[in-house]
């Protein structure tokens, strides 16, 4: 009885040792990969940060309106956020690569899915950034044009332009990420339709006189409204 217990314990110890001996190199490989990944991720972060500072990415982000969002969320500058994001994604990639070396069943499939998802994540971020940039540019252009044309409520026009572009951009981003495609499609349809209906009603009710003046100015000859500077600037 005693011998049997000793024998079983010995066997278990052997198996544990064998298992440990089997996994130890993989564990070491994983740790090496994690360390190498950290170094590479850190170097990538430093290089990216330098490039972004060189191209004045923070200014671009400010123009896009992204910096304001980051400030509100108590996050650092856009350059810092993007650099850290690249660092984390790169390092996480290496860690997951190391974990996959361990050969744990089920985990490998999830890791493969993560790597497949990465390019889509980057594309989505790219679309979102330039979408915000476009929204900022066109809303400002609309604001300036409305102010200089003396159109009432220029900020509303500017806000409407920005909102429409952002709704478009977000729908593209969600589609790219593959998140709740049907829900996004329906939500986009509802939001966009509501926005258009709202504008139509607002213009029809609130802007009746404005529309009348606009059409008269455009088509009725002889009724020239006094809306010009009488002065020649040159």
């Amino acid at each position: 009885m005693r011998e049997m217990i000793i024998s079983e314990l010995t066997q278990a110890m052997h198996e544990l040792a064998r298992g440990f001996a089997h996994y130890l190199p993989r564990l070491i490989v994983m740790l090496i990969l994690a360390f190498v990944g950290w170094v590479i991720a850190y170097v990538a972060k430093v290089i990216l940060r330098s490039i972004l500072r060189l191209i004045k990415f923070d200014k671009l982000s400010e123009n896009a309106g992204a910096s304001q969002l980051l400030t509100k969320a108590a996050l650092p500058s856009a350059t810092e956020v993007l650099s850290r994001f690249v660092f984390l994604v790169t390092w996480l990639g290496f860690i997951l690569l190391g974990v996959s070396v361990l050969g744990i069943l089920g985990l490998q499939e999830q890791i493969a899915r993560f790597f497949l998802f990465l390019p889509r994540l980057f594309v989505a971020m790219f679309i979102m950034f330039f979408g915000l940039l476009a929204a900022s540019f066109f809303s400002r252009a609309a604001l300036l044009a409305a102010v200089n044309a003396n159109v009432p409520s220029p900020r509303v026009i500017s806000f409407a332009v920005r909102s429409i572009i952002i709704v478009f951009v977000m729908s593209i981003v969600f589609e790219e990420l593959g998140l709740a495609e049907q829900t996004t499609l329906v939500a986009f349809g509802i939001v966009f339709g509501a926005l258009m209906l709202g504008l139509a009603i607002a213009f029809g009710l609130g802007g009746k006189e404005l529309a009348q003046r606009f059409l008269e100015k455009k088509f009725v000859r002889g009724k020239k409204e006094e809306n010009e500077d009488e002065l020649s600037p040159l």
């Binding site: 200014k59 123009n63 540019f137 400002r140 252009a141 604001l143 300036l144 044009a145 409305a146 102010v147 200089n148 003396n150 220029p154 900020r155 006094e226 809306n227 010009e228 500077d229 009488e230 002065l231 020649s232 600037p233 040159l234």
Partner: protein, 442 residues
């Protein structure tokens, strides 16, 4: 690059050895080049950019012909019409008008032929492309002296030709800019921004740096043709860049008083396009000309024939309420834009005066100059889209225009001139502020 060398024509016309460097896709049409080759070398060239000017082009052309025949009967002359896609037959009218229409009426005779050539440079008007076409023609024809005339001026006089050409042809000047007799409230952008700023920065007192009428030498025309960047589409503001190029390259400049300035069509509403053509040409030039203007202190007058400035004083109807409203609305609505362009103190001061009533409203010279200089520095830094910076200046200019109107409501010609001179001196005094911002933003 392609080199054109038009040679002897079979009919014994003068040989033309003009060489013209053109872009890969030459912008002058074959037909136009053929006409130029047929003309041969000329002494005098009159450039006439047009776009749907059929109503006035006939009389303008006859006035120009008259002026050439009167002042330069022995010289070989050509009129080059650069048309921006007229739909009213303007080019046909130009080529259809014969020199014989002028001779009997004015009893004038030329010893040489006066040619009129028309070319369509584009399907829509672009002043820069028109100027480029005229400069290229002048270089090809080896014209010694050239002028550009505007069909928008309602009261062109035949004397204008002589007044703009003679200083170049006879006295060796390279650029002749005009001065006019105008109402004290006309040309407010010129008197409140262009003239004082160019004077303060470049040190040259040119009253009309942006003008549709001017005379120039072949040397200046050739240099500008080959050195200017023509790749910006319409070439808006090329006339101003032309003047600035003459200043920075040290060419001899003078002014000539032409008399009354009247436009065929009264304009005033399109402030933003005007700002694009003028301020939108001046601000980028400051970037490339920084080594020149940063060293200049004070300013020097330029030789002037006739009056430097004459002012009409008759009452004029101006919608002051609207100017103030557009200023106040602009300052309030564009706050986020101004935050990117202006310093907090300047913006705060603008917001303060935007709340004032019409009678208390005062946009001081110093605040206006600080505004303009901060706009220039922000433009250089591209804090936002450069075109947006130019557009954002429009409501502020209206505010400054209102103050100028109120200050000079009952002023005499001398008092108006004194106010303009005071503004110019303020621009010169505050120039270090621009330099400071320019350097700090680098």
């Amino acid at each position: 690059m392609e080199t054109l060398s038009p040679r002897v024509s079979s009919r014994g016309r003068a040989e033309v050895h003009a060489e013209l460097k053109l872009e890969d896709e030459t912008f002058l049409t074959d037909d136009f080049l053929r006409h130029l080759i047929n003309v041969g070398e000329v002494d005098i060239l009159v450039g006439l950019p047009t776009h749907n000017n059929a109503k006035t082009i006939g009389s303008i052309l006859q006035t120009i012909q008259n002026g050439v025949l009167k002042a330069f009967p022995r010289e070989r002359a050509v009129i080059i019409n650069a048309d921006g896609g007229s739909h009213d037959g303007t080019p046909d009218l130009v080529t259809g008008i014969s020199i014989d229409d002028v001779r009997p009426a004015s009893n004038l005779y030329a010893l040489r032929t006066l040619h009129s050539i028309s070319t369509k440079y584009a399907s829509s008007p672009a002043s820069g492309v028109a100027l480029r076409t005229i400069l290229a023609a002048a270089e090809l024809l080896r014209a010694k002296a050239c002028i550009v005339m505007s069909p928008e001026s309602a009261n062109i006089d035949s004397e204008w030709v002589s007044k703009l050409l003679r200083p170049v042809y006879c006295d060796g000047f390279d650029l002749v800019t005009p001065t006019y007799r105008r109402h004290k409230f006309e040309g407010l952008l010129t008197t409140n921004l262009l003239y004082p700023m160019i004077r303060a920065l470049y040190g040259v007192r040119i009253r009309e740096a942006y003008t549709p009428e001017f005379g120039f030498s072949s040397r200046l025309g050739g240099q500008f043709l080959n050195q200017n960047n023509w790749n910006d589409g319409t070439g808006a503001g090329a006339e101003l860049r032309f003047t600035l190029a003459a200043i920075t390259s040290g060419y001899r400049i003078c002014q000539s008083f032409l008399g009354e300035k009247e436009h065929v069509e009264r304009r005033g509403a399109d402030l933003v396009p005007v700002l694009r053509q003028t301020v939108g040409a001046l601000f980028p030039a400051l970037e490339s000309d920084f080594p020149v203007w940063s060293r200049v202190t004070g300013s020097q007058p330029v030789p002037t024939t006739g009056s430097e400035q004459e002012v009409r004083l008759e009452p004029m109807r101006v919608n002051r309420k609207r100017l103030r409203e557009m200023f106040s609305t602009g300052v309030a609505e564009l706050e986020s834009v101004f935050q990117s362009i202006l310093s907090p103190s300047t913006l705060g001061e603008l917001q303060r005066i935007a709340r004032l009533g019409e009678e208390e409203f005062h946009y001081s010279a110093e605040l206006w100059i600080r505004t303009v200089y901060e706009f220039a520095a922000s433009y250089q830094k591209s804090v936002i889209s450069r075109d947006h910076i130019i557009q954002a200046l429009a409501p502020l200019f209206r505010g400054r225009a209102l103050t100028f109107l109120m200050e000079n409501r009952n002023s005499s010609a001398n008092e108006v001139e004194k106010h303009i001179e005071g503004l110019c001196l303020e621009f010169e005094r505050l120039k270090p502020y621009l330099l400071e911002m320019w350097k700090s933003r680098e």
